[in-house]
């Protein structure tokens, strides 16, 4: 692509975002601008439309195109047991506390291709808590949700995942939970029995469950500060008192206004806990 005048590009991106919101209802205006711009640029390149405006044109005139755009704009990158210390902390420090609830609801927000959902199910299965659990796995990208539900991943990943699994304190072998064929692994569908996959857009949608644990890793980084704050408030309102929040390694509550509603369990692992009492009386 030839160098584009940055000011012109800003206008194009703005129009693109507006088209996406007004035509399809997906609001990306609160996404972190630099990253969004990169992805839009990439999308234009991938679809060979040359300019972002051309992309906007297709977006407006081809109703089905929006799904490809969403696919391109979301960044569904993850691994099973990604950041093993986090999963180890979940296993050793969070699950024993969760066990004190009669039923445990877990919200995996932005589940993307589902690796973490499956990891979580394995973790819960091994902790003997899974029968009392329900995992709500949500994402705004329907295609990613479908992949998450399938639980089929390239076999070449399995090695690294096995390592992660063991580092996360896995008690068996990861291979106990999948069958491999044709260079793919398929996770045991029995692990899915207490997972409900649903479409939920963190930008627009509201609280839909009361959860004891909310996992939302590496999603907030794509959001601007006001949107991050909205989403954190959403998590706060979804969490039962004493419930846990687990964010990604580059995300933190440090400067968020919602921080007052949480106490830190482990700052390095981005593990927080919902305070029992609201810091201020919201009653009016």
């Amino acid at each position: 692509m030839e160098p584009v005048d940055p000011a012109l590009e800003d206008i194009e991106v703005e129009l693109f975002v507006r088209a996406l919101r007004q035509r399809h209802g997906y609001d990306f205006s609160q996404y972190a601008p630099a990253s969004l711009k990169r992805r839009v640029r990439q999308l234009a390149r991938a679809h060979g439309t040359g300019t972002i405006s051309a992309l906007t044109g297709r977006l407006l005139h081809e109703p089905e195109f929006v799904f490809e755009v969403l696919e391109g704009l979301s960044v569904p990158v993850s691994d099973m047991f990604r950041d093993p210390p986090v999963f180890r902390a979940l296993r050793d420090r969070v699950l024993p506390v969760l066990a004190s609830w009669p039923y445990i609801d877990i919200w995996q927000a932005g589940c993307a291709n589902g690796q973490e959902v499956w990891s979580l199910a394995i973790l819960l299965e091994e902790a003997g808590l899974y029968e009392r659990c329900r995992i709500h796995a949500t994402d705004f990208n329907a295609a990613a949700l479908a992949r998450a539900r399938e639980g089929i991943y390239p076999a070449r990943e399995a090695q690294a995942w096995s390592r992660n699994y063991l580092e996360a304190g896995g008690r068996h072998s990861l291979s106990d939970y999948y069958s491999a064929r044709y260079e793919f692994i398929k996770l045991d569908p029995r692990l899915r029995r207490n997972v409900s996959f649903a479409n939920h857009n963190l930008v627009t949608d509201k609280v839909f469950c009361e959860a004891q644990l909310v996992l939302c890793r590496n999603v907030l980084i794509y959001f601007s500060n006001p949107l991050q704050e909205r989403v954190l408030a959403l998590f706060r309102d979804s969490l039962a008192r004493g419930g846990f929040l687990c964010l990604g390694q580059r995300e933190s509550l440090d400067f968020a206004p919602s921080a007052a509603d949480f106490s830190t369990v482990d700052a390095d692992l981005r593990l927080y806990r919902r305070n029992a009492l609201p810091p201020t009386d919201h009653a009016h």
Partner: protein
Amino acid sequence: MAARQPSNDRARGDASRYSWIAHLPVQRKMMLVIGPLLLVFLLANLATLYSLDQQTEHRHWSEHTYDVLLDIGSVRQSLLAAQVGARGYMLLQSTSELADFEQGGRDLADGLRRLRALTADNPVQQTRLDAIQTLATRWQREIVAYVITPAARGDIDPAARQRIQEDFLAHRSVTVPQITAVLDQMADTERNLLVERNGRLDQTLALMRLVNALAAVLSLLYGAYVVNLTWRLIARPLNQMTELMSRLAAHDHSVVISRLGRRDEVGQIARALQVFKQLAIASREQDWLKNELSTLAPRLQEATTHRAFGQLLTGEVARLVKAGVTLYYGYDAHSERLDLLGSYGLRQSWSPESYVPGEGLVGQSVLERKPIVLDTVPEHYVRIHSGSGEALPCQITILPVLYREQVVGVLELAGFEPLSPLCRQLLDELLPIIALTQENLTRAIATQQLLEQTREQAEDLSVAAITLRQQQQVLRDSNEALHAKTQELEEQSQRLTVSEEELRVQAEELQASNEELREKGDILKEQKQALEALQRETAQKALELERASRYKSEFLANMSHELRTPLNSLLILSRSLADNDTGNLDEEQIESARIIHDAGSNLLRLINDILDLSKIEAGKMELVIEELPLAVLQRSLQRTFGHVARDKGLSFEVRVDEGLPAALHTDAARLEQVAVNLVGNALKFTARGEVRVRIGRPAPESAIPPALLGQPLVAIEVCDTGIGIAPEKFARIFQAFEQVDAGTSRQYGGTGLGLAICKRIAALLGGDIVLRSAPGEGSTFTVLLPEVPPVGTTAADGHAPAPAPRAHSSALLPESIQDDRGHLDQGDVTILVIEDDPAFARILADMIHRKGYRVLAAADGETALALAREHRPTGILLDVMLPGIDGWTVMERLKADETVRHIPVHFISATDEASRGRELGAVGFLTKPVSREAIAQAFERLLHVAEDRTRRLLVVDDDADARTAVRTMLRHEQVQIDEAGSAEEALRMTARAQYDCIVLDLGLPGMSGTELLDRLAATPAGVPPVVIHSGRDLSREENLKLRQYTDAIVVKGARAPERLLEEVSLFLHSIQHASRRPAEKPSLGDELKGRSVLLVDDDMRNLFALSKVLRGWGLTVTMAQDGRKALKALEENPATELVLMDVMMPGMDGYEATRAIRAQARFAELPIIALTAKAMRGDRERCLEAGASDYLSKPVDLDKLASLLRVWLPH
């Protein structure tokens, strides 16, 4: 290569180790093996043949012997026959007897002849035959001579016979027994011979058996030996070779190949394998070499400096050739010097940093351009040094690195072992790479430096260029300016020349008219002075007018406040009377009280309207401009008036025309206020017929005010078939306090301010309201709004005019009401009421007394502060508008005083500035007029905050240890802990005392924990805060049931105690528990009482919050946690009248459940309202597509819920 030597030795060793047989080719081995076997077989056969021969011969001889014996027998018989014949002849002299005798003699001779033939080989028998022959002949002759012949001479008488016989006996020399004796001897001999032969045959047979047996054993043994030999010499080696081959194929080069020295096929295979192995090793080594080179080359290329290059190179080379010390010198052609670029394993100070060519071996190698290898290293040479020691290397190698025949560097290696050929090869191939890479690096660095230089120059240049450009620009600009000026000057000079003449003429004329002008100027000056005086006067008046207007607004604000204050008491008291709490009023009195209340409410509305109007007129109405989707307006009107119209039996329709913008840019709330007012009026003044609202372009017949012409307008037309208005009254109805006539006012009620306010709001929004009507024909009110709002519609100052502080003196202070300050006891709960309206103060005091608390009352701030400091009340109720210092100041002073700052303060005021109140630290804010319920809540809040008494906790558990555990856990809390071992005991205890929290185990003997909760719920006090501490898992149903009473459920476990502690502390310390916060729900009256609703949601918080609200409205609520359970619940309660269906649920979600319900014909008309947390555009459509009748966003707005229930629950 290195491995060949020992393997040859081994081959030789093998050769000597193996027997000669091992060396034979396989074919010969086979022959060797099979030959002896064949031989043994042949010998055994020969032996058998011989034995058979022996047997045949023996049989022949046996037959021969039998023949001899038979013949001997026949000879004996012939003899005896001859003897009998002779004897007979002697007796009878018959010829036959003689013939017998003669026959016997012939037979004898025949027999003897045969015997002779038979025994021809036996001389003994021949001799015996000769003897028999002789004896027989003699016997025959004697018979003939002495018997036959005498007997032949005539008759023989016995005597003669006797004589003959005697004669014979006397003469005979041979007797038959003699002959037979010889015959017997013969027969004996023959028999002996037979026995002897039989014996020999038996021997032969025995021998044969032995031979055969031996041959068999020998064959077997030999066979076994052969098998063994074959296994050892062929099969096993082949197996081993195969295995070795597999290992070799799998790149196991450590295999040791044996049997190399064998000269047979196995040896050949082994030798081939050996070759194969060497090839594999060589190929592996080459692979290794190529691999290392190919990985090293790019890494070397990554180096960006010579040092990094040298370090990387020496490190890698040392690793590759296992050298202890590696040095690399780069040759700088300019300075003709070798510089140490990198070293590995070198102790600092060992080696000089640089050499010149010819200096030392390193320098020498530059001159010679040949590798130098030192095999014996002298004592003081470089040592390979490590933490655990140091030693002299065994070999030093110095390699010049050549690039295009030029030395570019020298690599020096020192190691404990001489370089292996492979390493040499590696180095050979590496050196050109090093040379090339270094050369590239040198060039790259040079390029980089050049680039850097160029960039600096370019920067300098660009700076210079910019400066130059700027200077040029300045020059050009000034040039242009000069040019322009010159031109202008030229033109001017031209024009000057032209007009000079004219000027001159004019000047003359001017001079003439100057005088005239001066005169006129004087007149003008006078006029101007008059005008200025007039302007000053006008400004003064305007100022006065503005002041008057402000005074009016302030007056109105103050008035409304003054009016609201007594109204406040009036409304509360009249409501209280109408409710007939005490039950001592009759119907009529209640009705009167209700009328008072209604009238008061009307008055309040009027005051609000006046306030609105005064705000607008004072220009203080604040507009909030935002997007108002027309569909929202439509829906809101439909919802607000749909049921009113239905109640009145009117047809009601709200329509939005095509071709309009989707949304209006306006103040949504104000516009809605206008629309609601107009539609409300229309419905009010229409007894029958219809009311239609059309949102569209203005109708052609409507008179558009000239100010609005020429811009796109949106019209909201409210058209009714009501009483109508006469045209002459059109103007008046928009005036404040005007209705069509006084009679109308009485008939229809209303303040008469509504339309005036509407008209002014419309004007504020940049539009207008026009009216078409005729008496009896209905009216059409049209709100006209510009599509684009005019700029400046936003009023600047939104605050209501602050009521001016009223002048006061202590003499004018309102009188405080009677309070309890004289008789307060320690520990009394006391509330300080600061209120200047004695009527309201009395109401408050009365309510406080009724709650059993003490009252302190003050009518002004100063008194109040003094009272607060003196008595330290439990809580304070504070009015804002007070004589003297106002409520805000009182609050500030209270909070500034250490001694009273902790006392909670609750505002009750006619002003509406809750946020300011909270900022100052109030626990709550109520705006007058207030209801008694609200006051009661304010008390509660005050007291709740104030409570600092010791908390009481009840632990219900049948296990004494568990109770102790909880007690231990809470030992740091300021809490009194009671214990109950059973539910019955707990019931008794809760009846006696109020508990702040109960920790309840579910598994109790007798009455269960759940039952206990049910029983507690039935008591008037209700269920106190409960923390369930369950030792067992709960079913979902149990969980659901428990959630009615508490959401603090802790399952016993390792980490449960800490959570139990958290939950308990929460109840003990919380000022107000979130879930216990009274829901501020709109009241619904009895409209929906008894209707049955099914509530479906998996979010239990929502489930219970909503069910509480719905039950509060008098509805019967069934709950279900997911789609499937919802279907089941509908099955069980087919009388359900409405379903509230959450969309996102696990298992069967809301869409699916809705579809499933709709699939049943009997539920086709059942209203289903979808509750959705999703706000995307398509989500709502999906709800409706699935069959939902309507939808409601989460979190649920209770007002909207109420409206929806009204709309959808069939009447």
